[in-house]
């Protein structure tokens, strides 16, 4: 074990201010995502909205590879689901998207802190990470 007195970490005890801000935003985003996920699932199973894929067709479709499933079901790819939110099963994607995108606002919140401190290495890492997540979320890789 390395004792505190034996090393100079250059950092105080306890999480940094930007880490606490990151945690606070992540908490909000996670709660929002879960709430939307559960609420939209309740809407879906209660049949409040019509489903793009009828319940009884599911066992025939979920054994197929994703590409074939999309062709058979007419489900959207990429961000096309945003135009089909009147479908119960498509509405479920809203909660999934909030959860999958929860880290992005947290990372954006780090930018001012690192910029103010002139911590160029971590500013660059944060921008690169934002870029990677935006690229993944963009649907560039969305053609099945």
């Amino acid at each position: 074990m390395v004792g505190v007195s034996e090393m100079n970490t250059g950092r105080g005890s306890g999480p940094s201010a930007e880490q606490l801000r990151y945690a606070r935003i992540l908490d909000y985003a996670m709660r929002a995502g879960l709430a939307v996920l559960v609420a939209s699932f309740a809407v879906y199973v209660a049949g409040v909205l019509p489903a793009q894929v009828p319940f009884e067709a599911l066992p025939r479709l979920w054994v197929l590879p994703a590409g074939e499933y999309l062709r058979e079901s007419g489900m959207p790819t990429g961000w096309a689901w945003l135009a089909m939110l009147d479908r119960g099963d498509v509405l479920l994607f809203s909660g999934v998207a909030i959860l999958a995108g929860a880290s992005l606002p947290c990372l954006f919140a780090l930018v001012p802190a690192y910029a103010a401190r002139k911590d160029w290495a971590y500013l660059g890492i944060t921008f690169a990470l934002i870029g990677v997540l935006l690229l993944a979320a963009s649907g560039v890789f969305g053609s099945p």
Binding site: M7, T9, P59, W62, L64, G78, L92
Partner: protein, 318 residues
């Protein structure tokens, strides 16, 4: 009997989960063969119960749920592997997001340590997801079986070091100031730490990201040993920072699966809810159960699931 009550309850829950999983095919067949239109709800309900049990085990075992979810559900449920992997990532992501804020606030996850590792692992996870979705299922299933068996062996053999001594940080770790102090509540004292072998750690996290993307596994099983044994980070901080890393890496890979349509919400949502409810119970069991019992149980489950995935991939047990 009283002393063994938590183990008894968990054993009972595992048996119930196994019975539910094992009885699903017979229920489906009884409902009219392999395409039982009337029984569509049986499978989401079964996956909910199985995930509930997995969630109970995952927390005390110190692993994410994804590593148990993917081999078990792909081995014993009718869903195509594409949907199982997409759901596995979402399950691991939801667990990491639920734990993330608390770990960051308490200082048991370190942003400065995690960000550089997360960057490479996230980019690699996207590549892994694309490769995994492009490969034939039999190859992915076989590789998954081998990987799961290796994870079981790793869990069996791997040592842990609560407070690894790092005499000097490496140049890159020092330049990135990957060091700090966290408060260990168990011992009521501040613990100083600093990272070593940062370039090797970055390389290993790149490989971990690829595996997470290819197989849809949360990668806590690999993150913690690399942080702890390779980079010399204290065990508690390794486990906490691993959760933070997963919350970003799994989302990068999950986006690829979502955009490619490899996510079936009717499977994913019950899985996430079941796993989180189970984890809620598991966090309480953690206080009263012997971790060695849980660890052995997880290794046994991984061996079973690994053999199943391997034999399924090789076409020996369809």
């Amino acid at each position: 009997m009283n002393n063994n009550k938590p183990e008894f309850i968990l054993g009972l829950a595992c048996c119930a989960g196994a019975v539910v999983a094992a009885s699903c095919p017979s229920l489906a067949l009884a409902a009219g063969g392999p395409d039982p239109a009337a029984a569509w709800w049986v499978w989401p309900l079964a996956v909910f119960f199985v995930c509930f049990v997995l969630g109970m085990i995952a927390v005390p075992a110190g692993i994410g749920g994804g590593v148990l979810f993917v081999p078990i559900v792909s081995g014993f449920f009718p869903f195509h592997l594409d949907f199982v992997r997409g759901t596995g990532l979402l399950v691991a992501l939801a667990s990491a997001l639920a734990a993330g804020p608390g770990l960051l606030r308490s200082g048991l996850a370190d942003l400065r340590l995690g960000l550089p590792l997360t960057l490479l692992a996230s980019a690699a996870a996207i590549v892994g997801a694309l490769v995994g979705l492009a490969l034939p299922v039999a190859i992915v299933e076989t590789a998954l079986g081998v990987t799961i068996l290796c994870i079981a062996a790793l869990m069996w053999r791997a040592k842990k070091s609560a407070y690894p001594g790092v005499a000097r940080p490496d140049a890159l770790g020092a330049a990135l100031r990957m060091s700090g102090i966290y408060h260990d509540h168990a011992f009521a004292r501040d613990i100083g730490w600093q990272a070593q072998r940062t370039p090797l750690g970055l390389l290993l996290f790149t490989g971990i990201g690829v595996l997470a993307g290819v197989f849809g596994l949360g990668a806590g099983w690999a993150n913690v040993p690399v942080l702890n044994l390779v980079m010399g980070v204290p065990l508690k901080l390794s486990a906490g920072t691993s959760g933070f890393i997963l919350s970003i890496v799994d989302s990068a890979a999950a986006w690829v699966y979502i955009n490619k349509g490899a996510l079936l919400a009717v499977i994913a949502v019950p899985s996430v809810i079941g796993m989180m409810l189970g984890a809620f119970i598991g966090a309480r069991l953690l206080r009263v159960m012997k971790t060695s019992v849980i660890r052995n149980l997880v290794i046994a489950i991984l061996l079973l699931a690994g053999v199943r995935a391997l034999t399924k991939g090789l076409g020996w047990w369809a």
